[in-house]
Amino acid sequence: MYDILTYGRMIKDPLRFPAYLEALRRTVKPGSVVLDMGTGPGIMALLACRFGARKVYAIEPDPIIQVAREIAAGNGLAGRIEFIEGFSTHVSLPERVDVIVSDLNGILPWFQQHLRSVADARQRFLAPGGVMIPKKEIVWLGVAESQPAYSEHTQPWEAGHGFEMHAARDLAINTRQLVRLRSEDLLAAPQCGVVLDFMQVEGPDSRADATFVITRPGVGHGLLVWFDCALTDEIFFSNAPGCYRSGYGQTFFPWTRPVSLQSGDVVRLKLRCNLVADDYVYRWTTEVLGKGEKAEVKASFDQSDFHSSPISPASLRKGSEAYVPRCTGDGSIDRFILTSMDGKASVGEIAACLSERFPDRFKERSEALDRVARVSRAYSE
């Protein structure tokens, strides 16, 4: 999922990593049993051992787990850390644990299977009285003025070299991006959108509503979202505007067009985050009302990153409920391989059969071997 340099940056993060270290130091007791979800190169598991854990279960679906195993062995901790390759939702543990530590956020808590995994782990693995690290995450919303951030979405398609390029702009304006803004870029006091309590969170979906009264006149370019992570009651870190030391930034959700805002104007924002398949679809709606009794509607936008990727009608249609799919030639090849994976035939034997069955597609043995190996890596055990 990440490359080794990214894992290195996470460990070097001057806000997040020291906070996790301190949270583990205060939480893990001699004899504790700890679950490290998404262990990566295993640093949290190692720290848990240092602070006295009797046993650590370290789960990771990425091949980086091999590196974590080597590091644990190199530090004499192979016997105390049990590495489990896979997704935590597919794993069973032989005992309940006293501490569950995870760092599965993207730039927002709504990232892939993060919240679903946390809820599942708490329900199936956490012992009574056990502790979740993080304890909760507080998501904040703000109204942002940032011409530079906004220009990233619009300027390339509005200049256009004399061409009308709205089709591209329409995608870009529904695309969120990582930014690092300052607190001065906010046009109103931030509002708490939602609190994700890891001791209670159940489902992966969230909604956050907020109403802002503009305090600094300016041009509104979009919604800014960030979060405070409470690892324990005392240990926090944040990716709020101005927290330049964090590797995290904020997420900028652009508006369809910039809106001139006066002091006293009211901005109503709604953010919906829904896990669809393995990733989130965000929808952000905005209503801007002028100040005063008339409360004229200055702007109203309904946007979603469902509109952000170039996609063909045929491709989308193929995912619709009523579509009747028919297997393509490539699909038939993979089906043949999957059917041949019966626990008896080797990759080489399946590749030989594949070449025989589809001679026009696999003229070289290496091509058939590559194809079978790819399917084997994905679906065999």
Binding site: D205, I311, A322
Partner: protein, 95 residues
Amino acid sequence: MSKLSLSLQVKPSEDVVWRNLQGESVLLDLKSGVYFGLDAVGTRIWTLLQNHSDLQAVLQELLCEYEVSEETCARDLMDLVGAMAEKGLVQTESQ
């Protein structure tokens, strides 16, 4: 869900996002994660429902745009709205 009739108020669900692609469209129900496809006429009806919650008004618009008898148009409209209501894509209310 109210019993279907042209006197119903019909509103697209807040949980649905949709995308128009060259005259056809795909709806995504964010709650269920299920995609639904609409042909050109279905897309037109969905677009009209964004602005008119009154089914009778939608029917009159369609009659102006398509060469079709009122009876056939009303039946097709009700069939589509019924199917969408069943899947939670629209909410219906009696006036």
